[in-house]
Symmetry: C2
Subunit: 285 residues, 2 copies
């Protein structure tokens, strides 16, 4: 999807939050903000928001000379999510509809997004998971169930660290021998990379690979060839998170987007309020 004019103040705010998170140096904050202002003033709005975010976070890593500034935050989110997993696995196993239950929990886990909320706390995460089953859900569940039933191969595009523990619970419901879970190739924000997939034991239940890219979404042209081949061949693609939705919503394929609505631009586009759990099939095919 294109970048909306309404995304621009938000991109600036997120850039400033991120700069403060990765550096205590006020000169760095100002430098980053001025560079982003300049880039955005000349931005091609046909680009999706994750393309600008990729550029901003590359620059932050370059300026601070830290390859993975969110590593500690990701470790914390993984540990917290792993603690919560046993209880929620019981919830799924005793549910009337374990697939729906696992999907809702995986979508609720999408709250662990430090691109949107750089100050995300443990209390925020616990609160988000407490609300997992009461917050509004908008989805094409029966169509998704049918697609899951029919697929021989499923590509599961993960989003964030921490959240990926809940993705594991959903993957377990998908007959995981046919599932490949994909994470980012290079650290960006708190998006999951291979160490996060391993931390939650995803490799014990399904095949795991990375996509080769450092975009906080899935920019196909930026991913390695093996991923692009899998993307083209998969019977079913499950794309987690708003970043994957923003970057893939114009791509063809048997794609289902699972995410929480995090901003008014997406709320307007998908016609559901901010905070809603979304499970929808790509509209273009």
């Amino acid at each position: 999807m294109r970048t909306s004019l309404d995304c621009i103040p938000c991109i600036l705010r997120q850039s400033l939050d991120a700069a403060r998170l990765v550096s205590a140096d006020k000169a760095v904050h100002e430098q980053v903000l001025r560079e982003v202002l300049h880039w955005v003033s000349e931005m091609d709005l046909r680009q999706s928001p994750p393309e600008m975010a990729q550029r901003i976070h590359r620059r932050l890593r370059e300026i601070t000379n830290v390859d993975d500034p969110y590593r500690r935050a990701k470790d914390r989110l993984n540990r917290l999510a792993i603690e919560l997993i046993p209880g929620f696995r019981t919830v799924i196993e005793s549910a009337d509809d374990p697939l729906l239950m696992a999907a809702r929990l995986a979508i609720a886990g999408n709250a662990m997004d430090m691109g949107v909320n750089g100050n995300l706390t443990e209390a925020d995460v616990r609160q988000a998971m407490d609300r997992a089953l009461t917050e509004p859900f908008f989805g094409e569940m029966e169509r998704f169930r049918q697609a899951v039933r029919e697929a021989r191969s499923i590509l599961y595009l993960a989003d964030n660290a921490g959240e990926i523990a809940f993705d594991r619970l959903l993957v377990e419901q998908l007959s995981p021998k046919r599932v490949t879970v994909v994470v980012r190739g290079v650290p960006v924000i708190n998006d999951a990379t291979l160490p996060d997939a391993h931390a939650v034991g995803m490799d014990e239940v399904a095949e795991v690979m990375d996509n080769g890219s450092d975009a906080p979404g899935t920019l196909l042209s930026d991913c390695h060839e093996e991923f692009r081949r899998r993307f083209a061949e998969a019977d079913l693609i499950v794309a987690k998170g708003q970043g994957n939705y923003e970057s893939l919503s114009d791509e063809p394929g048997n794609l289902y987007y699972l995410f929480k609505v995090k901003c008014p631009v997406i709320a307007d586009r998908i016609r559901q309020p901010v905070g809603t759990q979304i499970l929808v099939r790509a509209a273009h095919t």
Copy 2:
């Protein structure tokens, strides 16, 4: 005061809101936003926020070729405020402390600010005035009372249309023969100009003048000489609104700022939560 890095995303959002309010043309919205991004990327942060706002709103008037795009909104705010005045005049007259009551109402009226909230509705205004006497107040009231008692001449710097009707109620409590009420010289956002002062009958109770400037605040170097002379000579200056605070907070003088805290940057600076009614003397003298 300087522009904070935190002001920058907000300046962008306000620019986009303003562009949409004064034009239905999406190309204009994008053009304005790109120009502002470019200006802000090179901005001297020693400038106060109203200096950037002045430049943005000048450009909006130039692009749309409309001298006073908020004229109808200002007329509506004035009419609404005038309707509310008789009831609130009774409240003041029957109060134990009419000066404090009038000050609180004038500060509550500072909610009528379309720079901060371009979508301000009649319901918002009525709600703000309903809360006028219950919302938190932080002030140096006894010091202000003493300053009012001693002053031979008072310069009252008004802020917004609509709000200026409530300024009249406060001016009436100030022995208005010694008061000069100052409005902006040229329309900018919904800031009060001479037609607004006349609409609420301010000229019936006090001297009224404009400052010659189109800044949504008081940039002394941009005001005409007569205003600057009055500013230098006044025994007491009452400056309404956050824009006057932002632009005058580094100036010497016997200045009292009366405003509602409208953003986290000012809340942090003044150490009071957003929404608080503020009546404080300038700290530098």
